[in-house]
C-alpha cells in the first residue's frame, strides 16, 4: 500500500511526475477496491490543499486548472479498480454557465473542487437556456443549483433563470449559488440567488454549509 500522505502532498504540490509514479506503482500491485478508494480520497484531500493555497494567493487560476487535470488523470488510472461502487455523496449540484455566455474555466474549477469534497455534480455545460436548468432540477432534484457567468450580460440571464425556477415552483427545494467575475452582492440580490462568490473555494464551503 502506498503512503497516502505522499499522494495528498503530491496533488497539493501539483507534482505530476511524482503523483503518476506513485499511482502507477500502486496499480501494478493489484490493490483491492477498498485500497483504491483510499487513494482516491487522498487525492481529494490534495485538492483541498490546492484550494487552501489558492485562497492564500499562493496558487492562482492556472494552478487550479492544472489541479483539475491532475485529478482527472488520477481518477482515470484508479477508476478500473473501483468498479461501480462509489463513495457516498454529500449532496448534489446542478451546474451550468448561464445563457449567452460560453466561458467555462471558472465553472469547471468549481466543479472539480466540489466533486473533490464529495458532491455529485450534474454539469449542463456552457450557454445553457433557462429550460435546461429547470428540466434538470425536475429530473434529479438536486440540493443546490450553481450558475456561472463572466459576461456582464450573464447577470440578466441568471435572473431569468432564477425567475423561471421560482415560477416552476422549484425554488423551495434548492439553494442557488452564483459565481463568476461580474457577480457582486447587489447582483446577487437583483438575481435572487441565495449566495454568490468569485472564489471557487469559498463557493464549496458555502455549499458544504448548506448540506450539513
Amino acid at each position: 500500500m502506498v503512503d497516502l500522505k505522499e499522494v495528498t502532498q503530491a496533488v497539493g504540490d501539483l507534482d505530476e511526475n511524482k503523483l503518476m509514479e506513485i499511482l502507477n506503482g500502486f496499480v501494478s500491485e493489484n490493490p483491492t477496491e477498498e485500497e483504491a478508494l483510499k487513494v482516491v480520497n487522498a487525492c481529494q484531500n490534495g485538492m483541498a490543499i490546492v484550494g487552501e493555497l489558492f485562497e492564500k494567493e499562493e496558487y492562482f487560476v492556472g494552478d487550479l486548472i492544472f489541479s483539475g487535470e491532475l485529478l482527472m488523470e488520477a481518477i482515470k488510472i484508479l477508476k478500473p479498480l473501483i468498479g461501480s461502487s462509489s463513495t457516498a455523496k454529500v449532496g448534489s449540484i446542478v451546474l451550468g454557465t448561464a445563457h449567452g455566455d460560453i466561458h467555462d474555466i471558472g465553472k469547471n474549477i468549481f466543479k472539480s473542487m466540489s466533486e473533490a469534497v464529495g458532491f455529485k455534480v450534474y454539469d449542463l455545460g456552457i450557454d445553457q437556456p433557462v429550460s435546461a436548468f429547470v428540466e434538470k432540477i425536475k429530473e434529479v432534484n438536486p440540493n443546490i443549483v450553481g450558475m456561472s457567468g463572466v459576461l456582464t450580460l450573464a447577470l440578466e440571464s441568471m435572473k431569468e433563470t432564477v425567475d423561471e425556477i421560482k415560477r416552476a415552483g422549484l425554488k423551495e427545494n434548492v439553494k442557488i449559488i452564483i459565481g463568476g467575475n461580474p457577480v457582486t452582492k447587489e447582483a446577487c440580490n437583483f438575481i435572487g440567488a441565495d449566495a454568490f462568490t468569485t472564489n471557487a473555494a469559498e463557493g464549496v464551503r458555502i455549499c458544504q454549509g448548506w448540506v450539513k
Partner: protein, 456 residues
C-alpha cells in the same frame, strides 16, 4: 456650428495635455460603446445589422445626443461576421442571438511547439490558421485564394463603413479628433498571443508546468511577429498601441516573472525607444503586479479592471496615465445616487495630479447591461466636477524616448518565405521600379497585418 468647433478644440486640448504630462482643464471622458449595445439601442436586429455596419449610424447618432463623452462613443467593432464567415472561422462565430461568439479552440498542438520555435510565421500560416479558419483549404488552393481575398476585402469594406460613421460623428458633435489613424496599433504580449488562440487558456496552464522551456522559446519566436503586428506606420505622441493583457493574473508570480514578463517588457521598451506609447488593458486584478507595471516606460496608459484605485494612484499615478476602474455593473445594479457617489470617489482618488482619464472598467456587452440614465448621469457628473484649478501645470514624470534602449540583437527577426521585404522582392524582380515600393510593400504589410489579426 461654432459651438461644436469650440467644444472640439477644448476636447482636443484636454487630451493633448493628458498625453503631454500637463494638467488638463478637466478630466477627459473616454466612453466607447461596442457595436452590439448601440445596435440594440436603435432597435436593430443584431444578426442582420452586423452584416451592414452602415445601418447603425442613426442609433450611434442618437447615443451621441444622450450620452456625454469627449471621445466618440461609437467605435465600431473589430468583429464583423462578413470576414469571419467567409473564412469559416472556428474561433469567431455568430451565435443564435446575433452575438459574435469567441469559443475556445486549440489552434496549435503540443507537438507543434518545435516547428513554432523553428519557423514561427510559417507555423502560424501553415498549421494554426487553417485549423482556426476552415475555408483556408490547403488542398484546394484556388478556393483558398478566393476565400481569403473575399475575406480581406470584406474586412476593409466593413471597417471603412464604420470609420466613415465615426468621422461624421466626430465632426457633427465635436469629439476629440484623435491621433492619426496610422499611428495606432493592436497586438498582444507574446505569451498571451501563444495562450489565446494557439494553445488556449486551459492548455497553456498545462504547458507552463509541463514544458516551461518550450513556452519561453515560443515567446521569443513570436516576439518579432507581435512586435510588428502592433507597429504603427507613423509615430504620434497622442496615439498608442493597444494591448489587452490576459494571462498574468492567472499565473504565479514565479511563472509570470520567468515566462510572461521578459518578452513583454522588452517589447514595450522597444516601442518606447521609437517614441511609441502603449495602452494596456490590465484585465482582472493586477494588485500584485503593480511594481512590475511601474517599470514600464513613462506615460504608459494603464486601464484597470479591478483593484484599489488609491493604491494604484499612489504607486503609479506620477509616472503612468491611469484609466478604468469604474465598475460598469454598478450602472445596472445600483441607484443613480450610488453611481454618482462612486464617480465622486473616482475623481477624489484618481484625478489629483492629472494623468487620469475616465472610463469604465470594461465595456457593457448589451444595452441591458447598463441603465443608460445612470451612465449619462455619471459622465455628466465627471464633466462638471472633474475640473482642475491648476490646469497647465506639469503633471508628473515626463516621457523621454532616449531613456529606452533595446539591443536589436536581443530579439529574433521575422524571416519567412511568406513575408517578403522590398529587398527580397527586388532580388526576384530586378526590373521593378522603386516607385512600386509604397504600393506593393504596402499590400505586403496589409496582408501580414490581416493574417495576424485573424489570430488576435
Amino acid at each position: 456650428m461654432p459651438d461644436t468647433k469650440a467644444l472640439q478644440q477644448e476636447r482636443n486640448s484636454i487630451y493633448e495635455d493628458l498625453f503631454n504630462n500637463k494638467i488638463p482643464k478637466r478630466v477627459p471622458i473616454n466612453i466607447g460603446l461596442p457595436f452590439e449595445p448601440i445596435a440594440q439601442y436603435g432597435g436593430l436586429d443584431l444578426a442582420s445589422a452586423q452584416w451592414n455596419p452602415a445601418l447603425v449610424e442613426e442609433a450611434a447618432d442618437k447615443i451621441c445626443q444622450v450620452l456625454f463623452s469627449d471621445s466618440c462613443p461609437f467605435g465600431g467593432s473589430i468583429r464583423y461576421p462578413s470576414y469571419y464567415q467567409s473564412l469559416e472561422s472556428q474561433s469567431f462565430v455568430m451565435g443564435s442571438n446575433g452575438f459574435i461568439q469567441h469559443p475556445e479552440v486549440v489552434g496549435m498542438l503540443p507537438e507543434d511547439y518545435d516547428y513554432l520555435i523553428e519557423k514561427p510565421y510559417d507555423c502560424l500560416l501553415e498549421r494554426v490558421l487553417p485549423k482556426q479558419y476552415k475555408a483556408l483549404k490547403l488542398d484546394d488552393p484556388f478556393i483558398m485564394a478566393i476565400n481569403f481575398a473575399k475575406s480581406i476585402m470584406a474586412y476593409q469594406n466593413d471597417t471603412m463603413q464604420a470609420g466613415m460613421i465615426i468621422a461624421k460623428l466626430k465632426e457633427k458633435y465635436g469629439y476629440y479628433s484623435g491621433a492619426d489613424r496610422r499611428s495606432g496599433g493592436f497586438t498582444e504580449a507574446p505569451f498571451d498571443f501563444l495562450a489565446d488562440q494557439l494553445r488556449g487558456f486551459r492548455e497553456i496552464s498545462m504547458d507552463v508546468r509541463r514544458m516551461p522551456e518550450k513556452v519561453a522559446e515560443a515567446c521569443e519566436a513570436l516576439y518579432p511577429i507581435v512586435l510588428k503586428k502592433g507597429m504603427p506606420s507613423a509615430v504620434d505622441n497622442n496615439a498608442a498601441v493597444f494591448l489587452p493583457l490576459h494571462m498574468p493574473t492567472f499565473m504565479r508570480e514565479k511563472d509570470f516573472a520567468k515566462l510572461w514578463w521578459p518578452s513583454f517588457k522588452r517589447m514595450i521598451d522597444e516601442y518606447a525607444s521609437m517614441g511609441i506609447h502603449c495602452q494596456l488593458f490590465c484585465e482582472d486584478n493586477w494588485t500584485r503586479y503593480l511594481d512590475y507595471l511601474y517599470e514600464l516606460p513613462t506615460d504608459t496608459r494603464l486601464m484597470f479592471e479591478y483593484g484599489d484605485p488609491k493604491l494604484i494612484k499612489e504607486k503609479l499615478g506620477k509616472k503612468h496615465i491611469i484609466t478604468g476602474l469604474y465598475p460598469v455593473t454598478m450602472l445596472k445594479t445600483h441607484t443613480k445616487e450610488q453611481c454618482l457617489d462612486k464617480a465622486r470617489e473616482m475623481l477624489d482618488v484618481l484625478a489629483p495630479g492629472g494623468k487620469y482619464f475616465f472610463s469604465t472598467d470594461k465595456n457593457p456587452l448589451t444595452i441591458k447591461d447598463i441603465k443608460l440614465e445612470n451612465y449619462c448621469a455619471v459622465t455628466e457628473y465627471i464633466r462638471d466636477n472633474g475640473v482642475y484649478s491648476n490646469a497647465g501645470e506639469t503633471a508628473g514624470l515626463a516621457f523621454n524616448r532616449d531613456d529606452y534602449k533595446v539591443d536589436p540583437s536581443a530579439s529574433r527577426k521575422l524571416e519567412s518565405k511568406y513575408y517578403r521585404t522590398w529587398e527580397n522582392y527586388k532580388a526576384q524582380n530586378p526590373k521593378v521600379s522603386d516607385l512600386g515600393e509604397s504600393k506593393l510593400q504596402g499590400f505586403e504589410e496589409m496582408i501580414f497585418q490581416y493574417l495576424m489579426f485573424l489570430l488576435l
